[in-house]
Subunit: 148 residues, 2 copies
DNA sequence: ATTCTACTTAGTAATTATTATAAACTGGGG
DNA sequence: CCCCAGTTTATAATAATTACTAAGTAGAAT
């Protein structure tokens, strides 16, 4: 994600007030590349400002998405959507067991649909998700099988 | 999706009773390649059997997913997850405006992560989603701009 | 610095999606 | 035809998100 200063200036440019709550949420987001859920952001928020409401977290995340500096990603299985603080074009590697989600920064420019495949759609971008099992979960699954 | 007969035999092989409710849901699924939501399946169900409960639809869809003949897909923006009656490996083309989701049956075998990119994950598969605007929505958006 | 106001927040309620529970029902083997 | 494990339904509970509104405040204007 961009630096805190960049994000603050985006807010200013869009005439959004820089409240302590918004500032805290931005600070948390720039430090968290784990694709957190709304609730994970909220839990971090209330360790610092215990009175912030969930509504404020929802509002702020939605505003950042509307401004294009935050992306919503879907994750099979986990509760609720997750937010991606890396708004640049990139791809993902998901552990199907614990849902840890890593960024893959490489580009895959060779992915192009033929006109007949595209069916008249005007294609803007593509996104690849690799599914697998992370090293931690491989170990956990292996020792689980042993104990059977 | 497989034929109705194939699905019925999968149920039989797994000692699941073929009830009128399940049969109807299967009939609906084999005819619907639109990646419907739970509610869209339910709405079709109750036009034929008005007393079927949502729980039965949820249960049946989950059972089919467990049997591997139905896939859950995530769709940014639309309400709830969607079900994919095409359980084979394939990719998707999503209209970011109306969320129409088309299957792309081509394979992309060249998509491989290097060991360093894979970070120790044991990778099982990958899935590509192309994002764009479908012809209908292109027209709608164009005429909308005209009227401004 | 003080005032003012439109924007923001917190708290609560409402909505929506999904899962849990348990009593009544039934497909299909025997 | 009987029977019972599996299934369905209705209802309640849980979870995720959105709506609403009175109270609070950031930042511009004075
Ligand atoms: Mn990412
Ligand atoms: Mn599909
Ligand atoms: Zn894992
Ligand atoms: Zn469309």
């Amino acid at each position: 994600m961009e630096s805190l200063e960049t994000l603050l200036s985006v807010l200013r440019q869009n005439h959004l007030k820089i409240t302590p709550q918004r500032r805290l949420i931005l600070e948390i987001l720039v430090d968290d590349a784990s694709h957190p859920t709304v609730d994970q952001v909220y839990q971090q928020v209330i360790t610092v400002m215990p009175n912030v409401s969930r509504t404020t977290v929802y509002n702020t995340l939605h505003e950042l998405v509307a401004l294009g500096v935050l992306i919503e990603v879907q994750d099979m299985g986990a509760g609720g959507g997750r937010y991606d603080t890396n708004a640049s074009q990139h791809h993902h590697l998901l552990c199907t067991h614990c849902h840890t989600l890593l960024d893959i920064e490489r580009d895959f420019p060779e992915l192009e649909l033929t006109p007949v495949e595209a069916c008249g759609y005007r294609i803007a971008r593509h996104q690849v998700t690799f599914y697998g099992v992370c090293p931690c979960c491989q170990q956990a699954l292996a020792s689980q099988e042993e104990s059977i």
